[in-house]
């Protein structure tokens, strides 16, 4: 055992050694603080076993911010390495590990959980529900995601990180990568993928079955719509990833030949399967972002969303097309002209519904009254910036030209323009916008705007030069270059921009700490003069049952219309009824720990550990399945408690 740890613990790299020490100190610090403040029980009952969608959402967002820090640190290391030619800051091996973990973490462990967290917090409130359809599953979703992410992150201090790129192409990821690194990738993604798939199913059912009376499909707010479509894409795309990862795991651990070079394996199959999931995946993260921007633009322009129906139609069209474009990730694989032509057309066709959305947002701004709050700044910056990402996407979609763009920095700049200007801006915007819903106070506007300017300008300074680097012929994933390549100046500018983004992120974090102490507490549930139901709660932070009385919905901007009507009508006394709520669940956490154990066992081919973990997981499943529903009845919130929680509603006329 001791030998095993000695063999795999990485102590020879000063950067990783520093990380080792800081991780150890952080863990000791947290354990000490919890013990000293006697918070263990509180943590267990209030958070770890909680099935409250708002708490699960908050945990998702905290995890995502941690991962954003880690992925951002990776990014800054990469930029540091590429600032000057022939730089020896990082070894090539280390660089390869870093760009692999950066890509994987940012997409799967940052963007996804951040958006899923916002969905968790907001969707049930927005449709007037008390919770999601399957609260127990929701808890399992979070913990399996979390332990998958932890397993992936352990790689970096124990055994070595994966290093074949986030796309993990065969045969490099099989024959070309001995050791545990790629196993970490396969099992980390597999375990967190379970959580994502469950969330997808959960939200499809929640949105279809749990809506308040009067909320027809066409009256649903845009964020709910985008989340519904995203959940559908998750349900259809994630099984592909699950199966592909399993097949590659068999190849690596049990000597099968699905994607190998030898004995009739087909490496191209991996590329196809990966992108069959991977392209829908990027729409999984961008669609909720579109929804967030729709909500925010509509709220702060104080105008109903322009073209609600065409927004929905274009969403559905995008989601269908997202499954029909995967070949554009390897136009250069030697497909026939006809094949490449078909996929060029489907790829460019995505620009049509996306263009409709962009003009609808501009239409929403037309004849509006724009309030420049911090969330609105992010949302406004998104429009022009994302369009740059969009048009370069169309350029990349032209297969004949793509033979030149493929694998170079033009492509890198393009997908960062869509993923950052689209998804990350949306995460920050949604975070600031719904922050009072989660914590009962707003984030400081001054720091918020400062962070926004640093991040937005830094982002453009970082990635605009990369389009040009692409034209100058700089390939992606190279760890260094020569002075005579002539890429130095643009790389220096790019690094300066990256530092700006880093500062922006630090200000966001500081802002959270600052506002925690100094911000004014909200007294109503409606800090922004909102338009949708999540702002209709009586208190700033909704109680665990969300609504004392489920609201009636009469139009698209449900809460807006309630407010308009209430101006005329005096509130009579509300009749409260006891509310049935689900009880906490501890099995999901235990099960996810066992997933981690089994995954770790498989990574290092410690069969006893994998088998024990597997038996444990099965035992949890059996335990859950055989429990009578009478043992898990939930509980009722009494009328007295509801009265205590619902302060008299004060609305400004």
């Amino acid at each position: 055992m001791f030998e095993f740890i000695k063999e795999h613990l990485i102590l020879d790299d000063p950067l990783i050694l520093g990380a080792n020490i800081s991780i150890a100190l952080t863990v000791i610090g947290i354990v000490f603080a919890l013990t000293y403040l006697k918070k263990w029980k509180w943590l267990w009952t209030e958070w770890i076993t909680s099935v409250d969608h708002k708490k699960i959402g908050i945990m998702y967002i905290i995890a995502a911010l941690l991962m954003l820090f880690r992925g951002g640190f990776d990014a800054l290391l990469m930029r540091a390495q590429l600032t000057v030619p022939n730089n020896e800051l990082l070894t090539p091996q280390h660089y390869n590990e870093i760009f692999t973990t950066h890509g994987t973490i940012m997409i799967l462990f940052m963007a996804m959980p951040f958006l899923l967290g916002l969905m968790n917090v907001v969707i049930p409130l927005q449709i007037g529900a008390r919770d999601v359809a399957f609260p127990y599953l929701n808890n399992l979703s979070f913990w399996s995601f979390f332990f998958g992410a932890i397993l992936f992150n352990v790689s970096f201090v124990f055994g070595g990180s994966p290093d074949a790129g986030w796309t993990n192409y065969a045969p490099l990821a099989i024959e070309g990568s001995p050791g545990p690194g790629i196993n970490y990738y396969l099992l980390g993604l597999q375990i967190s993928g379970i959580g994502t798939l469950l969330t997808g199913i959960n939200f499809v059912v929640t949105i279809f079955k749990m809506r308040a009376p009067g909320m027809t499909l066409l009256r649903m707010p845009m964020f709910t719509w985008t989340s519904l479509i995203t959940s559908f894409i998750i349900v259809f795309a994630f099984p592909i990833l699950t199966v592909s990862l399993a097949l590659m795991t068999f190849d690596r651990l049990f000597g099968t030949h699905f994607f190998t070079l030898t004995d009739g394996g087909n490496p191209m199959l991996w590329s196809n399967l990966f992108w069959l999931w991977g392209h829908p995946e990027v729409y999984i993260v961008i669609l909720p972002a579109f929804g967030i921007f729709s909500e925010i633009i509509s709220t702060f322009a104080r105008k109903t969303l322009f073209g609600h129906k065409s927004m929905i139609i274009s969403l559905v069209v995008i989601s269908l097309l997202s499954f029909l474009v995967w070949v554009h990730h390897f136009f250069t694989m030697g497909g026939s002209a006809a094949l490449n032509n078909v996929f060029s057309i489907t790829t460019m066709a995505i620009a049509i519904p996306t263009g409709i959305k962009i003009f609808n947002w501009l239409g929403t701004l037309y004849k509006s009254r724009i309030q420049f709050s911090t969330p609105m700044m992010w949302a406004l910056a998104f429009i022009p910036t994302f369009v740059i990402g969009g048009v370069t996407g169309v350029m990349l979609g032209m297969a004949a030209a793509d033979f030149q763009y493929h694998n170079n920095y033009f492509l890198v700049a393009h997908f960062h323009y869509t993923l950052i200007a689209g998804v990350v801006f949306a995460c920050f915007a949604g975070f600031e916008y719904w922050y009072p819903k989660m914590f009962g106070h707003k984030l400081n506007e001054r720091f918020g705007k400062l962070a926004f300017w640093f991040f937005a300008i830094g982002f453009n300074v970082c990635f605009l030069p990369q389009f040009l680097l692409g034209f100058a012929g700089m390939p992606r994933r190279v760890y260094t270059y020569l002075p005579e390549d002539g890429w130095t100046a643009l790389n220096v500018v790019s690094t300066i921009g990256a530092i700006g983004m880093g500062i922006g992120f630090m200000i966001v974090v500081y802002n959270v700490l600052y506002s925690m102490r100094h911000a004014k507490r909200e007294t109503t549930g409606d800090p922004w003069n909102g338009r949708t139901l999540e702002w209709a709660t009586a208190t700033a932070m909704p109680p665990h049952y969300n609504f004392a009385v489920v609201p009636e919905v009469k139009g698209i901007d449900a809460f807006w219309e309630i407010k308009q009507a209430n101006n005329a009508v005096k509130k009579e006394n509300i009749e409260y009824k006891p509310i049935h709520m689900p009880s906490n669940a501890s099995t999901p956490f235990v099960m996810s720990v066992l997933f981690f154990v089994a995954g770790f066992g498989l990574v290092f081919e410690l069969w006893w550990m994998a088998i024990l973990g597997g038996i444990g997981i099965l035992a949890c499943l059996v335990l859950r399945s055989l429990r009578s529903h009478r043992e898990d009845e939930g509980y009722y919130v009494s009328v007295d408690e509801i009265k205590k929680r619902e302060q008299p509603i004060q609305r400004e006329a």
């Binding site: 091996q93 191209m268 109903t304 250069t332 030697g334 694998n407 300008i457 100058a472």
Partner: protein, 323 residues
């Protein structure tokens, strides 16, 4: 007033950054937009054609965006005629901005489709000449070029005559690599057990950088080669000279090339096609590695008693032998 000062600072920073980036762009060498062959030229024209469309779209969106944000911002002089909170949409406008993207996508698809079919054929400018066939094989982390007609083989450099179509038959011994000479034309993947055809042609003599642009592990960054276009006579002389003076390619020498490493330029007067066709056989390199007991990253494995050593050195370019 203070608010305006801040705004001006932001505007200044933005404009200054844009200026710096523009100046650097003008000064750097955008080789993809400076092609030296008909294939690259075709792609460059297509790129420029699409850039004009995209710039037009950007201008329209940016202008509309600036207009909305400036005109409809909240200020004391808000005119109530300019505020219509219940505007739900406009079918006419929405149809317009559905049709315009469709037209643009169509306008881009047609030349793209033409170009795709054209790239599958030898360049039009030299249809009278028979293309020279060269096999380009990627092996971790080097490029091997075989001239079956001339019966010569080179490593990490390829000489071609100018104004003459070349048919590259691209494949790989191990990882999925991508054959790319930016100034001559677009790239194509090389994969074990498969062959992809790529027609290229250089219009003027010169030395162009080629490389593997697909990530294949440790030495990928240095997996580069020289693409040298010579005048016809010079090229013929070089072929003769290589045939007469370069050593024969021994099987053992070739097996060494299958081990992961960066190597210098080499020339041989016979080709590896005698021992193996990587376009048919995807297992060859793996078998050689097993035979020598080598895995990638220099990890030794227990193989059939062979004591193989592989020091994977990732050095900057080795010395270039003259040719």
């Amino acid at each position: 007033m203070l608010k305006n000062v801040k705004l001006w600072i932001i505007v200044l920073i933005s404009i200054a950054s844009l200026l710096v980036i523009t100046v650097l762009a003008l000064r750097s060498d955008l080789i993809i937009l400076d092609p030296k062959g008909p294939v690259g030229a075709l792609q460059k024209d297509l790129i420029m054609y699409s850039i004009y469309f995209m710039l037009a779209i950007l201008v329209v969106v940016f202008v509309l965006f600036a207009y909305m944000v400036i005109k409809y911002r909240e200020h004391s002089k808000n005119n109530s005629n300019d505020y219509k909170p219940d505007m739900h949409g406009s079918t006419k406008l929405e149809i317009i901005w559905t049709l315009i993207p469709i037209i643009i996508v169509t306008a881009l698809s047609i030349p793209n489709a033409k170009a795709l079919y054209e790239l599958k054929e030898p360049p039009k400018s030299t249809v009278d000449k028979e293309p020279i066939v060269i096999h380009a094989t990627a092996a971790d982390w080097k490029w091997i070029f075989s001239y079956p007609e001339e019966n010569i083989e080179t490593v990490n450099y390829v000489n071609v005559p100018e104004d003459h179509p070349i048919l590259f038959k691209v494949t790989a011994a191990d990882s999925m690599a991508s054959f790319w000479v930016p100034q001559i034309g677009g790239q194509i993947y090389g994969m074990p057990g498969m062959v992809n055809d790529l027609y290229l042609q250089a219009d003027e003599p010169g030395e162009y950088k080629g490389r593997n642009s697909n990530f294949t592990g440790l030495g990928m960054t240095h997996q580069q080669f020289k693409f040298v276009a010579l005048e016809e006579k010079e090229y013929q002389d070089w072929v003769k000279d290589t045939q007469q003076n370069a050593p024969k390619l021994a099987e053992e020498t070739y097996e060494k090339l299958m081990l992961p490493d960066n190597v210098d330029e080499m020339s041989f007067s016979s080709t590896h096609l005698e021992f193996v066709d990587h376009g048919q056989n995807s297992e060859y390199a793996m078998n050689i590695r097993a035979k020598y007991g080598v895995e990638v990253k220099g990890i030794k494995v227990k193989a059939n008693g062979n004591e193989g050593e592989s020091d994977v050195e990732v050095s900057n370019h080795g010395s270039h032998s003259s040719h």
